[in-house]
Symmetry: C2
Amino acid sequence: MMTETSSAKHKQTTRDRILDAAEHVFADKGLDGSSVRDITTAAGVNLAAVSYHFGSKTGLIEAVFSRHLGPMNTARLALLDQVEEQAGESPPPIESVLDAFIRPVVMHHLAEHGANDAFMRLMSRCLNEPPTHLELFKHHFDALMHRFHAAFSCALPNHSPSEIFWGVHFTIGIMHHTLHVLSHLDHLPFCPAESADAQAVVERFIAYTATGMKAQHGNSISVNGLCGGTISTPQSCNQSVEPFPS
Amino acid sequence: MMTETSSAKHKQTTRDRILDAAEHVFADKGLDGSSVRDITTAAGVNLAAVSYHFGSKTGLIEAVFSRHLGPMNTARLALLDQVEEQAGESPPPIESVLDAFIRPVVMHHLAEHGANDAFMRLMSRCLNEPPTHLELFKHHFDALMHRFHAAFSCALPNHSPSEIFWGVHFTIGIMHHTLHVLSHLDHLPFCPAESADAQAVVERFIAYTATGMKAQHGNSISVNGLCGGTISTPQSCNQSVEPFPS
DNA sequence: ACAAAATTAAAACGAACGTTTAATTTAAAT
DNA sequence: ATTTAAATTAAACGTTCGTTTTAATTTTGT
């Protein structure tokens, strides 16, 4: 039984053809909207092959996510390691933390001549779904978010927990929507031709989010004094962290 | 045949009970994931009532969206009218435009003791979906986005089309994700207790997006000169606009 | 009150779903 | 070459889906 990876084969296996097809069909019609028959037809394989190779439709979904999320989040953490090492004991620049957070994602999106485009569309689609489907891949983000949340807190040591919390979520929101927009540039109104440059998008992203996060604290426009106390949570940087509950 | 609105009835009609139930079921399980039987069971009405009152499941979906999007977007445009009138011939403050863009949405989210919570969850979920479901309510946003895109261009007259385009989409991304986060505060890690204040969230939002949009142009960190030419598109403010293609 | 229209109810329709079974073919091992 | 396991196939399983049909009931207008 060699159902794993099956590398060192120059001919694409049935398992891989199912994964590739599932990625596209899922991205186009959603997890619930795609039938196993849709996928096996697109892959040119037999209907029962999904049950045989992945056990069930749910098993296939998990496999689709794992194939991409593992390498992608590993790359993000590696970049963060680099940023923290370079910063030493002082707070890392918020721009660098943001860069480590989003550049691998955008790069993965555009890698190999858009080969990962379908998966990223699927991701940006599923991240707004209820726990049912989210649970299938949430564990891929637990350790990642723990590390990055600590890094953001370090980079902005005077921000309150709420300012960090919302700043991080604003950033995540932009990232998801950016992936969505990058996948649908052709069909969006008001889209100038030069908007597709990935490098430029990443830099726009960092410029936007870095100043946005900073603006939440103190020097904000603060309509009526709501950006109140500087309740900074002292926290040693570059600490090793452990998984958190839920 | 009085299938419309059916107001002036102190007893909730079958039609309205279906709409209320559909909102919650759709939000929890998605449009494809919810069956007509799920909805009619939750509403305590007969299965055939959906076909009778709305023609089809698709008709029901459209009705669910129209009931909320109409008033909500009307409120946003009314606020924008106010902002533009107050600005006269000079560019309106970007903060005011952003406020008109998002405050009615957040307020609608929290109106009537969270009665609209389910719908907003449904919205933030569907906005990342492919054209199939998007087409059902996209027309609700066409005129709105046309007006606001012009307003953003006016408020930031030196920004290039690309800077406006991405700034608007970054803002939309934050808004969607914020609605999602507001609906799931209980289940999110790193969430401080004081994060639920809607007024504070709106002001954080505006502080973040206003400085973010400004930062994209000129005074940005601009890693390697990509935030280039000031290709401002001269455009008279407060102009009346007409619907745009696609 | 009565007739017409609107609404609800129960049952059934064909189609598509995820999954399983059993038979067959392909590949590897001895 | 023979044997054994892995991989693929075609067919069918039972369930649930959206929708329709037919009849009974309630509401409305005169």
